[in-house]
């Protein structure tokens, strides 16, 4: 049985390598001059979670894809319930103390349901998209998958957890792409969101709007669709300032600091500046394992969770960064390969969706350490300390291994 599960040895090996790499770095993150006991012992707990996670992955890999497909609905609804319960009973933790991300019962923090939500959303989206005979070609066709993604997304945004919300959006569009939605439709669907972001500058938004109108004329959707898209973009541009005012002050600061970290170097900009200093001072080969001064002397914030990649950059240098990112790249390509070779649309979409989730995580998290992305506080898969997330990553690995083992030797022959 295990032999069959491990049919895709490279995939399993990559996941193990990344997790071990991660635990080694989590250990280093705890080695500071002034010891913080919780952080110093994090690697031990992470090792424990690794054990639980791999066992869960083995269990998950024993469930056939058909079971997953069948259970998508109940799992999805159960997940939504869990997210709702978290909103009521949730509590914050660590750097996100003001968010209600943790399911807490009688003061015991059980876990972060939003991490598991990524998996059930992928399953549910895959099921909805696979049920169609043709890929959606108009915006109205997208209502089902949009609703599937929107419900948990809204619950998570209420926590509020902007970072995880971004991951959901990423997964949603990646899976639409994989289901065969043409790129102009993806752009049209995403255009109000883009308008929202670009509205900070009237000029930039104007250029975008002209380009969008051109796209609408060229793609020729239904008239009402075209009008709806244009109107939605105008509305987004208008309400952006209103939404901005409704953001929490810390969220506003993070976004402003993303544009210019030096605008608040001692407070909001501090983290990202210190992260860049840590990474930049690593050089080619780094300052040596355990010897990162930025980490050791507590200049680096959240060095075992959100900013763990800065420790890689500082202590192992460009070499360590390249190895880590190389492993991730390999993992992504391997995941795409699994999706290509999957037996059926559902399996293929599940595989691609899970990989897309990791990809968005890596880009946002690693980009954040260099200020290429705003600080959203989402963890780095396999690396960041945190039980729920490691479990979620490994459940995904288990599912991928299953999909891979059910798939054909070569892609392209679906038996429907």
């Amino acid at each position: 049985m295990i032999g069959r599960t491990l049919a895709d040895r490279p995939l399993a090996a990559l996941a193990v390598l990344l997790t071990v790499f991660g635990i080694i770095v989590v250990y280093s993150a705890g080695q500071t001059d002034v010891i913080v006991p919780v952080v110093a012992r994090a690697w031990q707990r992470q090792l424990g979670w690794f054990l639980i996670a791999t066992l869960s992955a083995l269990l998950a890999s024993r469930a056939s894809v058909r079971v997953l497909e069948w259970s998508a609905w109940p799992v999805y609804l159960g997940g939504l319930l869990l997210l709702s319960v978290t909103l009521v009973f949730g509590s914050g933790a660590g750097t996100a103390a003001s968010q209600k991300g943790w399911l807490t019962i009688a003061g015991v923090r059980l876990g972060q349901p939003s991490e598991l939500a990524k998996i059930f959303v992928v399953l549910m989206l895959a099921r909805v998209l696979a049920a169609r005979r043709e890929a959606p070609t108009s915006l109205i066709d997208l209502w089902q998958p949009a609703l599937v993604a929107f419900a948990p997304w809204a619950l998570i945004m209420l926590q509020p957890d902007l970072g995880t919300g971004i991951v959901f959006i990423g997964i949603f569009f990646c899976m639409l792409f994989w289901s065969g939605v043409k790129w102009p439709l993806l752009v049209l669907a995403g255009s109000p969101g883009i308008s929202l972001i670009l509205a900070f500058s009237t000029g930039v938004w104007g250029v975008w709007f002209v380009a969008l109108v051109a796209l609408v004329i060229w793609y020729r959707p239904y008239l009402w669709e075209g009008v709806a898209v244009v109107v939605a973009n105008v509305v987004a541009g208008v309400i952006a300032p209103i939404l901005w005012d409704r953001l929490h002050p810390y969220q506003q600061r993070r976004l402003l600091v993303f544009l210019d970290p030096q605008s608040d170097p001692r407070a909001s900009g501090y983290h990202v500046i210190q992260s860049q200093v840590a990474i930049g001072s690593g050089g080619w080969l780094g300052k040596g394992y355990l010897d990162g001064s930025q980490k050791r002397l507590a200049f680096l914030p959240a060095q075992h969770t959100d900013f763990i990649f800065s420790v890689v950059g500082e202590e192992l240098g460009f070499m360590g960064v390249s190895i880590a990112l190389g492993l991730f790249l390999w993992l992504f390509l391997r995941t795409v390969r699994v999706a290509q070779r999957a037996n059926d649309q559902f399996s293929s979409l599940v595989a691609f969706g899970l990989g897309a989730g990791w990809f968005v995580h890596v880009i946002v998290n690693v980009g954040m350490t260099l200020n290429l992305m705003p600080i959203t506080g989402i963890p780095l898969p396999f690396f960041s300390y945190g039980g729920s997330f490691l479990l979620s990553c490994w459940l995904a690995v288990g599912i991928l291994l299953r999909v891979s083992s059910e798939g054909r030797g070569r892609a392209g022959t679906f038996a429907m």
């Binding site: 043709e134 890929a135 930049g280 200049f299 390249s322 790249l329 290429l372 892609a411 022959t413």
Partner: protein, 594 residues
């Protein structure tokens, strides 16, 4: 089977997805390459600035020796206590806690905060000169003060204290104003610099080079590693400074002045300009200036009517009185107005009628008819009034200018003031108007009164020319190349004759007969200068040299409110006697046991 999942479509999308993923990762890696490799230097610097704080390791200042190798200025082990803090608030908090352990006044705390603001990356000095007791208390409580730095730092010490203050000056912490000046480029806040005298003049040689110890701090400014964070830069000791001062003579002079006398003394080697001794009484104790002047001491020095901070050799300017008669005489001889044996038309009868004014001689009984020789010995004013008139104001002023009575001597001390003398006859026109003055000024000028005020040092310099061959010697505290300029063109015979005339001053019948030294021909000239502040208390002058045949030393003594020049002459004679007999005499060699 849906067409969108046709194998070809899946393959195509797979290729697009793989390509986009690879491209994105490539962009990320490029960003890391830019940050880690291309901008490595900048970030490494920032990271080092984050973690390292520079603790200055003060260099011991150069030791200053006298001509015999005795120490004038040295360094003693001392301690500075300072605090490293990430910000002003935490510094204040630490200071408050510290004041529970060691005595700290509010002004001390404010000063520490000011020092911190000036250089936040250096430890803020709290106690520049901490006692051993304070240091041991702090060492016990070290763990409570994570930013505390106790640093051994040599402190300046002058074994002879006030006795050498007049030329050695003192040191102190560099001020904010000094830090902004070009002369102090490269200095850092908290460093000790020379504030006066030799310490200031030779600051560049004496300072050495400050070293640096690197301590490692964490994000909260706590000192995590005291040493080894980076290799220390050791301080470089400065070169020693060898002076011409004779400490034994200097101490002897200080002893002569005691606590009561006030004034200035300088002893020069006439051939080289070497300053053998220089003292201004009363003096201050430069040791008390080290590590910050106590406020009460500073106040006492500034309110003392005897003005200890005012250097009476270098800064004080006094009417030269009769000591100037040698200048008048040498100008007359040089311009061939009179010879040493010439008599003036009017003999001294205790005064001289010029126009409608009567100019007195100091000797009311009168001196009768005198030669120049005799007139110098008895310091007859009437003779010099007439000599001055014969020279004429133009030539007398020009002569004084060429004898450098309106210059600085160029001694290697920063405090020296220029002496004052009319630069030309034009001076009188400017000052009084062309018709506002009469030829009477020449009478005053010829006996060293009027618009003429000289530093003690400048008079001594003038006498070095008389003591040798008409060449003055530039006074030098440091052993440096001798600089001599001819200021008068007199024949050797004339110079010998002038010195002989000055020997007469200290012989029976001379104005300072009581100053004679047994077995030594002491030449010199007394002077009594009118005191503008208090007409009843004149300043007493004596400038002399010995032995008269070939002078080895020129001594100028000026006693403020000293009365008649004879008193100054007696002091000078003791100094010269001490120098010639005790110092210059070969030390008798006695064998052990005999």
């Amino acid at each position: 089977m849906s067409t969108s999942f046709h194998p070809n479509e899946v393959q195509r999308r797979g290729r697009i997805a793989s390509g986009l993923v690879a491209l994105t990762m490539f962009v990320l890696v490029s960003a890391f390459f830019r940050t880690q490799v291309l901008r490595n230097a900048q970030y490494t610097l920032e990271s080092e600035q984050n973690r390292l704080r520079e603790v200055p390791l003060p260099a011991p200042r150069g030791i200053i020796y006298d001509r015999t190798g005795q120490i004038i200025a040295e360094n003693l082990p001392g301690y500075t206590v300072s605090l490293l803090a990430p910000g002003v608030d935490s510094l204040r908090a630490a200071l408050r806690r510290l004041s529970g352990t060691i005595p700290l006044t509010a002004p001390q705390m404010d000063l520490a905060v000011r020092r911190f603001r000036r250089a936040p990356n250096r430890p803020a000095v709290i106690l520049a000169d901490a006692s051993f007791d304070v240091v041991s208390v702090l060492e016990e409580h070290r763990i409570e003060f994570p930013g505390l730095i106790i640093q051994a730092s040599p402190k300046r010490y002058y074994p002879d204290g006030a006795a050498v203050a007049s030329f050695v000056g003192y040191t102190g912490e560099i001020t904010e104003a000094e830090l902004t000046r070009d002369a102090f480029r490269g200095y850092k806040a908290g460093q000790q610099v020379g504030k006066g005298g030799l310490e200031k003049q030779y600051e560049a040689q004496l300072r050495g080079r400050e070293g640096t110890r690197f301590v490692e701090v964490d994000a909260r400014g706590r000192v995590v590693r005291e040493a080894g964070a980076r290799a220390d830069i050791p301080p470089e000791r400065a070169a020693v400074l060898r002076t011409n001062i004779d400490l034994d003579l200097q101490r002897f002079i200080v002893g002569l002045f005691g606590d009561s006398l006030q004034g200035g003394v300088v002893a020069l080697d006439p051939k080289t300009g070497a300053v053998i001794a220089l003292h201004s009484a009363p003096a201050y104790d430069p040791n008390r200036f080290t590590g910050g002047i106590p406020a009460d001491y500073w106040k006492a020095l500034n309110t003392d009517p005897r003005r200890p901070l005012y250097n009476k050799v270098l800064q004080g300017r006094y009417e030269p009185g009769s000591t100037f008669k040698l200048a008048t005489a040498s100008i007359a001889l040089e311009r061939k107005v009179a010879t040493l044996d010439d008599r003036m038309p009017t003999p001294c009868s205790g005064g001289y009628q010029f126009g409608n004014r009567y100019f007195r001689c100091w000797e009311h009984k009168g001196h009768g008819s005198l030669t120049m020789r005799e007139a110098i010995a008895v310091s007859c004013d009437v003779y010099f009034y007439q000599l001055g008139l014969k020279i004429g104001i133009e030539r007398l002023v020009a002569g004084g200018v060429s004898l450098k009575f309106l210059d600085r001597t160029g001694i290697d001390l920063p405090e020296e003031s220029p002496s004052q003398f009319p630069y030309a006859v034009e001076y009188y026109n400017k000052r009084y108007g062309p018709r506002g003055w009469s030829n009477a000024v020449v009478l005053n000028l010829s006996i060293g009164q009027g618009e003429n005020s000289q530093t003690v040092l400048n008079m001594a310099r003038f006498y070095t020319a008389l003591a040798t061959d008409g060449r003055e010697a530039q006074p030098s505290i440091m052993q440096r190349p001798v600089k001599r300029d001819s200021i008068m063109s007199l024949t050797p015979d004339q110079l010998v004759a002038l010195r002989d005339a000055m020997v007469g001053v200290t012989q029976a019948g001379g104005s300072a007969a009581s100053a004679a030294i047994q077995g030594v021909r002491l030449a010199g000239k007394t002077g009594t200068a009118q005191n503008s502040q208090d007409p009843k208390r004149d300043h007493a002058w004596f400038v002399g040299m010995a032995p008269a045949e070939q002078p080895k030393v020129v001594v100028a003594v000026m006693l403020e409110f000293g009365g008649h020049g004879t008193r100054a002459a007696r002091i000078a004679s003791k100094i010269i006697e001490h120098f010639l007999k005790v110092k210059a005499a070969p030390v008798p060699v006695t064998e052990a046991g005999t």
